[in-house]
């Protein structure tokens, strides 16, 4: 039987990750209040949120240490959902047939 979980993060590492997640969240909220950033808030927050997403997926959901197949199964859904969201928004933003 294959041992998927050869590496186990320790409780301490899990706690550290939780702290990082909290700090990133705090930063996100702080950036939200910096009105001078305008639309620049968007890419900054996307990067930060993607970071949180990746931390939870890779460490809490153990994708980093598991067989790559699980990553493929999950990432396919994430990527396709993202692409479809952008496609639909674009179709509603351009052209004469918006409504």
């Amino acid at each position: 039987m294959s041992k998927e979980e050869i590496h186990h993060p320790t409780a301490k590492q899990y706690f550290r990750i939780a702290m990082v997640l909290s700090v990133i969240t705090a930063i996100e909220v702080a950036i939200f209040y910096l009105e001078f950033l305008g639309y620049w808030m968007v890419p900054i927050l996307v990067v930060l949120s993607t970071g949180k997403f990746a931390l939870v997926a890779m460490y809490y959901m153990h994708l980093r240490y598991d067989h790559k197949l699980f990553t493929y199964l999950f990432v396919t859904g994430v990527v396709l959902a993202t692409v479809v969201i952008f496609a639909i928004i674009s179709l509603f933003s351009f052209g004469i047939g918006r409504w």
Binding site: F53, V78, I85, F92
Partner: protein, 245 residues
Amino acid sequence: MSTDVHNNTHEDHDYTTTGLNHRKMLMWAFLGSDCMFFGALIATYLVYQGKSLVGPYPIDVFDIPVTSVSTFVLLMSSMSMVLAYAALTQNKINGFRIWMASTAIMGATFIGFQVYEFSSFSTFHVDIESCAEQKVKYGKFDDYEAELCSNAKDDHVETHDGLKPQTNLFGTTFYTLTGFHGAHVTLGIVWILSLLFLSYKKGMITPERHLDVDLAALYWHFVDVVWIVIFTVIYLFGVFPFPGS
């Protein structure tokens, strides 16, 4: 031909092509699929962002500090979930139970915040003593107040309608998206409590049967990860009118 049967604990030793567990693979495929579910709901929300014909608008009702707290709680619940699983694999059943209970409690707290938020949104009201004075005093309105004042016959404007799903596109899409997320969380809490409950029955939750908890944990983290997206895209970006509006 004889049909010799094995009980469930041997399931994990049966032949598989990849050496990976069937149920874990199923859970990951399911989570990939669930991304499309939330993706469609998020796409609907974003298409309609900034397009509501009447208020209240996100900027009127969103309370970012409060939602930040509930976001933090949900993130911490992921930590507690992963510690519950770790405890189980180390045969610390009491630790497992404590962490599972705290995950459920934090999940329920998150739902409590959602309920509070839904109810405060739906009873949101505006009371402007005098539109003329308001304008002079603050120099500007936000959209909703300007809209109310411009439509009003008197100088005094009061509205108790609140934000309901029927009110406008924002209400419709917001409640549906966050409502389905909340439903996912609730299902997760029920699952976690069921496992917690079962752990009192001898032999049901053991280090050998860690997969049962691993599956619940994956689901729980997914629900957390979806909220990470929702918090940023819906709440934090809620201040903008989006392109194309």
